[in-house]
């Protein structure tokens, strides 16, 4: 218990590192996933197929294997970057599916209408489809965030000192306390996930375009 208190600043530092990894992974995944989804949905057919093949491949490889693959690449990358690349590739593949379905949910008619009004295909995608698709993608995206928060715990294998590695340090030099320390880690991950999700929930509420129904599908009550 005393050891846990004494090491608290370092555990929190581990949380900071985990958040860094997470931000990198989600950012990388967002860019990669969005790009891949656009290519899959609207790109030229051969390119779309290529992207699909890559996405299928990456989704079929466990994140820990991807991490090790990136780690053993012949270049010398800092551990943090290895973790972001390894987990980010995996996340990009999953996020591309989130965005692809979001794009598909915007009807083709809207795209055609935008084209009829004189927008180029790129303009139509950016100004008409994307704003709607991103709003619809937020829900599933928060799900991906939750699972990535927990996947940051794999980054220790390539030498990133995140929450779990800090926990291991305490356990190994005090020769014990496994249960207590891991319970505390579970609490940290739980809080991190709750925080991330509630922030995204607020964002979703802010971006919500009011229409006939509110977010719960009810008609708004008259005031």
């Amino acid at each position: 218990m005393e050891a846990l208190l004494r090491e608290l600043p370092w555990l929190l530092r581990g949380v900071g590192v985990a958040v860094e990894v997470l931000a990198g992974v989600m950012g990388f995944g967002l860019l990669g996933g969005l790009g891949a989804a656009v290519l899959q949905a609207y790109g030229p057919r051969p390119l779309g197929l290529l992207v699909t093949a890559g996405e299928r491949l990456l989704r079929g490889i466990p994140p820990i294997v991807l991490l090790l693959l990136v780690f053993y690449l012949p270049w010398d990358l800092p551990p943090l970057l290895v973790a972001i690349l390894g987990l980010g590739l995996c996340s990009a593949a999953y996020q591309s599916q989130i965005f692809r379905t979001a794009f598909r949910s915007v009807s083709m008619g809207e795209l055609q209408a935008a084209r009829a009004l004189g927008l180029s295909k790129t303009q139509a995608i950016i100004h008409v489809v994307l704003p709607q698709a991103v709003r619809r993608a937020l829900g599933p995206w928060s799900n991906e965030l939750s699972s990535q928060i927990k996947d940051t715990s794999l980054a220790y294998i390539v030498g990133v000192v995140e929450i779990l590695r800090q926990a291991r340090y305490i356990i190994s030099y005090t020769y014990g306390n496994s249960l207590l320390v891991f319970c505390f880690c579970a609490l940290l991950y739980f809080l991190l996930t709750r925080l991330g999700n509630s922030l995204l929930f607020r964002l979703e509420a802010r971006l919500w375009v009011p229409g006939f129904v509110d977010r719960r599908g009810h008609f708004p009550t008259r005031r």
């Binding site: 370092w10 000192v161 291991r168 356990i171 190994s172 030099y173 020769y175």
Partner: protein
């Protein structure tokens, strides 16, 4: 023919550049879950190997920086040159010698048989019809695999990621015994874990520091010389007494017992 010649030149130039190179700071890899040799406390690298490596670097005039890597990846990381040195209670074995290069040995250990405090088992009965554990990728694990598995009737062997987890399972009664390096075993006993040492397997293993295969930065002679200077200056004895009270101090570097072709 011409192409072969070109490739040869490139390879030669590459090797020469590696041989001649010296680094500003050498990255020393360790698995910070192996007290009293290596651990991390309040964000600081600690332990016998950490202090010895720092002292050698000081004596030999180079700089080191420590990096923590889990046991599962540490040897391959060194073999590939991701790190420059391993200082982490690493036993010298011929198998490892094929992928990395070892300094002269500095430490000798055997394997200790740990059982639960209240257990009636002895070093022999602990391995019959029981399941036992060791950290995966360690020499203790290897020893059971090579010498007992399939020979001792009813024995099963469980790999663990760290020795701490193995000892936790031992305390909980899920396994009957754990085989680990003698100093590590003593560490668990001294820390008040509910285990005891019932026997020693005389494996006569030696710990040594390791560098990337081919010693691209010429570190091995400097480490060996550093060990010699450290012993002669008396600091070696000081460190041994501090980390391993009561353990006899023998002059380092030791003579290598494990000879490989």
């Amino acid at each position: 023919m011409k192409r072969g010649f070109l490739v040869g030149i490139v390879c030669l130039a590459f090797t020469l550049s590696l041989l001649g190179a010296e680094k500003e700071v050498y990255v020393v890899g360790l698995d910070a879950a192996f007290p009293p040799f290596t651990w991390v406390e309040e964000g600081q690298f600690r332990g016998f190997d950490v202090e010895v490596m720092e002292a050698i670097a000081e004596l030999q005039g180079f700089r080191v920086e420590f990096r923590d890597l889990p046991w599962a990846t540490i040897i391959t990381a060194l073999a590939q040159g991701k790190i420059d040195v391993i200082a982490s209670g690493l036993t010298l074995t011929c198998e490892r010698d094929q992928v990395v290069d070892f300094s002269l040995p500095y430490w000798e250990v055997d394997q200790a048989v740990l059982v639960r405090e209240d257990s009636q088992l002895n070093a022999i009965t602990a391995f019959f019809g029981t399941s036992v554990g060791a950290q995966a990728g360690t020499t203790g694990y290897q020893w059971i695999e090579d010498n007992l598995l399939g020979k001792a009737p009813g024995l099963s062997l469980r790999p663990y990621e760290t020795y701490d987890l193995a000892v936790s399972d031992l305390e909980a009664g899920r396994i009957a015994a754990v085989l680990c390096d003698t100093d590590t075993a003593q560490g668990f006993v001294d820390a008040g874990r509910r285990v005891k040492i019932v026997g020693i397997v005389k494996t006569g293993e030696q710990y040594a520091y390791a560098v990337t295969g081919g010693d691209p930065y010429g570190l091995l002679p400097r480490i060996n010389e550093g060990l010699r200077q450290l012993y002669q200056s008396g600091r070696w004895a000081e460190l041994v007494n501090r980390y391993f009270p009561g353990r006899p101090v023998s002059p380092v570097p030791l003579k290598r017992t494990e000879l490989c072709e």
